[in-house]
């Protein structure tokens, strides 16, 4: 996905960009509203992360002036404070959600996902894998006439496989993607979720294959 990050704090911006890139997203960074205006007028983004306090103005004015342009792009406002008064203004002006800085990336990811699902967004999020059509926004698998709704972790796991078919992912790597560091989940948990995905994919040409001692991969027959 393509993100626009509007943030003037360089170290926070760098951390955010690094973190989002880690999950395979593309991030453009604007340090001020002037830059942001340039980016928005030339590129279409899947999601915008907008700092409310910027050196050359209030993020709210950006929301106001780009309301029509941003019709199809969800915006998550980032605020330094958890003030209600701020928030009310932000949501009224058309931001889809807000998050208090500096955020927990799990929270950011969860909010992005929720907002994208709610708003639809620009991205064509449908990936075809053999006879399986995977919509990562709505979290559905379409196999023939059947539509299967994936639950949160099933979805996140399948996203990992779908992003790189035939690539082998070790159990421990998958564990990192699915569970937070303090959840104390074991590799057995991965087996459980892989088992569930296999059940969903049964009867399709897509299959999750075990490579003994190495991990799992998605293969299309």
């Amino acid at each position: 996905m393509r993100f626009l990050l509007i943030e003037d704090n360089m170290s926070l911006a760098k951390a955010t960009i690094d973190r989002l890139s880690l999950d395979g997203h593309v991030v453009d960074h604007a340090e001020c509203l002037a830059d942001a205006n340039g980016f928005v007028s030339t590129t279409e983004y899947d999601l915008i992360l907008l700092d409310i306090m910027l050196p050359d103005g209030d993020g709210r004015s950006f929301l106001k002036s780009h309301r029509s342009a941003l019709e199809s792009t969800p915006v998550i406002a980032t605020t330094a404070r958890s003030e209600v008064s701020d928030r009310v203004g932000i949501l009224d002006l058309g931001a889809d959600d807000y998050i208090t800085k500096p955020f927990d990336f799990a929270e950011l990811e969860a909010r992005c996902r929720a907002v994208l699902r709610r708003r639809g967004g620009n991205a064509s999020n449908i990936i075809s894998l053999g006879d399986v059509r995977f919509d990562s926004l709505s979290g559905t698998l379409e196999i023939g006439q059947d539509t299967i709704h994936l639950r949160n972790r099933e979805l996140r796991l399948f996203e990992v496989f779908a992003s790189a078919p035939d690539q082998i992912f070790s159990k421990s790597k998958l564990l990192d993607r699915l569970f937070s560091y303090d959840e104390g989940a074991t590799e057995n948990a991965i087996e459980v979720y892989v088992g569930r995905l296999r059940r969903h994919l049964k009867g399709s040409r897509a299959e999750i294959v075990t490579d003994r001692g190495l991990g799992y991969r998605l293969s299309i027959k």
Partner: protein, 460 residues
């Protein structure tokens, strides 16, 4: 937060005392002035009458054949008895001889003037006003002086004076009473701008630090100016502390976010298990610090805001719905379902930000200490004048023997294992509830596993 105010004296009382003292002095002075004027007038009129009478008697005297002729005129005595029923004494002497009257009636000591001479003395056990006048009559070669002394008792005058004194006393008292009433009114009206100012300041909400705009008498302008500048400074310092709290959290956590990202990137690159384990420890420690910084500063914010609590009407159903909405993505990460159960209207008075913080913390606990793929219910209810926000989860439950201890700072249960936390969540919730006149109840579900935590607030 009402600090004790030392009061010494009262402006109204001081004003009253001063006005009343002044009035009393004036009233007493009035009394004595009226009394002495009256006495003077009465004495003067008696003296005039006595003088007239004595000269009338003198006028009737003549000398024939060396003998004094005298015809006491009736008019002279009727003049005297006009005043009252006072007794009258007289004595007539010719030369050195006593002629007629009361021989023992004393004679006024004469000075160099022509007279008549007056004196006040005692005669026959009564106080008398006494007058002596002389007239020279030709008798033989040498003129001889005929001397008439007239005395009158002063009972009538004393009665009159008594009456006048009583009137003067009544006048003084009346004067005093009316001045007292006026003083009371004056004290009240001069104190009323102060009372109005007090009311307008004390009616304000704790966050209302606007300067006093209503006009005040110009004697109070310095006070109000000082008050306004004080409120201005207070506002600045409140804003600064609030900004400081928010800013501090930001300052501490931003570099942690950077470090965490770097650690995570490294973690994904590293293959060796022991390296991965140590980086995981690192990330954990970072998360723990970040959480602790956030919670500590949240706690500071709570302490700060409870010091001057806002008083807004808060609809707890709306608050709960909003919070569920907000936490939904977080719960979803662990496939936890949040269910809101609203059992009728419930609202309270207080600070929205604080209530949100309290509710967020107990819901956050429910999510943290619940297994994946479970249900958490938030119930909004009311009974007996209290509104309740109850979270009920199917998680690990509270260590039952020391549940109350968990409300204290940095206290964590023995059952939390690896879950990251700082032990301030319940402290925050408890302090918010108590600041609003409510309480926090923590218990385990009566049926089934999991904890049941309730925030209670007085109903609006």
């Amino acid at each position: 937060m009402s600090a004790e105010v030392h009061s010494r004296g009262s402006i109204r009382r001081r004003l009253m005392v001063q006005l009343l003292l002044g009035a009393a002095v004036l009233a007493i002075a009035l009394f004595f002035i009226v009394q002495s004027l009256a006495r003077q007038l009465a004495e003067e009129s008696q003296d005039n009458i006595l003088a007239a009478a004595v000269s009338a008697i003198l006028d009737t005297t003549s000398v024939r054949d060396g003998e004094i002729q005298l015809d006491l005129p009736y008019s002279a005595f009727s003049m005297l008895s006009n005043i009252s029923n006072d007794r009258v004494f007289y004595a007539v002497r010719f030369g050195d001889d006593f002629v007629t009257g009361y021989s023992d009636l004393p004679v006024v000591t004469k000075d160099d003037s022509f007279g008549p001479w007056f004196d006040t003395t005692t005669y026959q056990d009564d106080e008398v006003r006494i007058v002596t006048a002389q007239r020279r009559l030709a008798s033989g070669e040498t003129p001889l002086a005929v001397e008439v002394t007239l005395a009158q008792t002063r009972d009538g005058q004393r009665d009159q004076l008594m009456w006048i004194s009583q009137s003067a006393a009544a006048l003084g008292t009346g004067f005093f009473v009316s001045v007292a009433v006026l003083a009371l009114l004056a004290a009240r009206s001069s104190i009323s701008p102060i009372l109005r100012l007090t009311q307008s300041v004390s009616r304000r909400g704790p966050k209302d630090l606007r300067p006093v705009a209503a006009p005040v008498p110009h004697e109070m302008v310095p006070l109000v100016a000082a008050l306004n500048s004080f409120m201005d400074r207070l506002k600045n310092s409140l804003t600064r502390s609030e900004e400081f709290i928010a800013d501090a959290a930001h300052r501490v956590r931003t570099p942690l976010a950077t470090v965490r990202t770097q650690a995570e990137i490294t973690y994904r690159r590293v293959e060796k298990d022991e390296n991965r384990a140590s980086i995981r420890e690192m990330i954990r420690a970072i998360d723990e610090s970040s959480r602790a910084a956030g919670q500590m500063l949240d706690h500071a914010m709570v302490t700060f805001r409870t010091d001057h609590l806002e008083q807004q009407a808060i609809d707890l159903n709306a608050l709960a719905a909003e919070m569920i909405d907000r936490l939904h993505p977080m719960a979803e990460l662990r496939e936890i379902e949040l269910v809101l159960e609203q059992q009728g209207a419930a609202s309270t008075i207080g600070d929205t930000i604080l209530l949100q913080s309290a509710l967020r913390n107990i819901l956050d606990n429910a999510i943290k200490y619940s297994p994946a793929d479970s249900v958490i219910t938030l119930i909004v209810s009311q009974d007996a004048g209290m509104a309740h926000l109850t979270t009920s989860d199917r998680g690990i439950g509270l260590p039952i023997d020391d549940a109350e201890r968990l409300k204290s700072r940095f206290a964590r249960g023995a059952n939390v294992e690896g879950v990251i936390g700082s032990g301030l969540g319940l402290t925050i919730a408890d302090e918010v509830a108590r600041a609003h006149g409510g309480y926090l109840t923590i218990a385990n579900n009566s049926k089934g596993p999991g904890a049941c935590v309730t925030l209670s607030f007085p109903l609006q």
